[in-house]
Amino acid sequence: MSEHVLKLDPPAFGPDRNFLPDAVFSEDVVMILSDGSESAQAIADAFASVGASVAAVGPDLPAAKRVSGIAAGHGRKSLEAAWAADPSSLLRKAAGDLGPINHMVSVNVDDKVLSAFLKAFEGVPSDPGMMRNCVIISSPSKSDQVTNGTRQFRINHIEVDLCRGAEGLVGRAGGTFELGWAVAFFCSPYAREIDGQRLRLDGGMV
């Protein structure tokens, strides 16, 4: 994915201001599938800054560590793994080390990898009251074959292009932390009824 993103703040404030109340995710664990990009790191920051533990999964351990390191920096529990591992085994290990996975976030991950992890996530038994959800992040043109159908957890989709806004109505590139806020919103208790939605995060139409 492109990481040529200018670090322009949105109006009035930047990434240092917490979007959600402190500790809102203090009992939650998020699994982030990514190639270790800045976007994935910003998402880890949005979760870990308000209490979440982070299980980072990438094509290799260095990529995963770029994401899990953000959680460690906040003093949160974390682990990293390569997605070549069996997803079901990985989910069990994460549950043992960090706790049951509440949120699964996929950042521009190949459909084959994502499908395997979604299937494993679906197969994990969970308490009836436990909020489980998934946020799929992809480029605007990508199809949505993977997330169609009924699941045992909520799935929302974010179509993101953080570069396009410079030529759009917003007149600037997007900050990766703005993507982090959007993902954190969909996973927050405030959005626990929001399901099957597609958010365009691209800075607007010209």
Binding site: Y190, E193, I194, R198
Partner: protein, 173 residues
């Protein structure tokens, strides 16, 4: 409703236009998130809309930077308030957010194109809960409205979302 959303809004003034439980839920959560709420009449007259916005500013002693508009599918483009709010923001060199709240199945895309501009960030919620529904759905609707109106969503332009899959199954968004 006793549960509130976080303080996502820095004390803006929001003009709310329209009726129904969904509108009230959105207004409630916008207020809980930090907005001052003023009511505006449903109108097709831009001058009347501008008058309502200016009256809200005068009453609140702060400029209006959010408009929540629910027309029940009768005026999805929010013609009068769209024109009035654009003029109002340009005159004051302010930026604002416009939020459409319409029934599920409403195609708000063209309306969002017409409303959006360099000073006006327009987004929409199209949902079966625009005029009522279970409390938990209305709370989610309100939280979504508060998020979309906030500066945390400053990069979100032209988005049209529902609340749950019952909204999506009607073809849009």
């Amino acid at each position: 409703m006793s549960r509130t959303v976080p303080s996502w809004l820095d004390d803006p003034v929001c003009v709310v236009v329209g009726h129904g439980d969904g509108v009230e839920a959105a207004a409630h959560e916008l207020a809980a998130a930090g907005a001052t709420i003023a009511r505006g009449p449903i109108t097709s007259d831009p001058a009347a809309a501008l008058g309502a916005i200016e009256a809200a500013e005068k009453a609140a002693r702060d400029p209006v930077t959010i408009v929540l508009h629910a027309s029940g599918g009768q005026d999805v483009a929010a013609t009068a308030y769209g024109k009035a709010f654009t003029v109002y923001l340009e005159n004051r060199e302010l930026n604002g957010a416009f939020l459409l709240l319409e029934p599920a199945g409403t195609d708000a895309r063209q309306a969002l194109v017409e409303l959006s501009g360099p000073r006006l960030r327009a987004n929409a919620i199209a949902t079966n809960y625009a005029y009522g529904g279970p409390l938990k759905k209305l709370r989610a609707l309100g939280a979504l409205a508060a998020y979309l109106a906030s500066d945390y969503a400053a990069y979100v332009y032209g988005a049209c979302l529902g609340v749950d899959r019952s909204d999506s199954q009607q073809g849009h968004p």
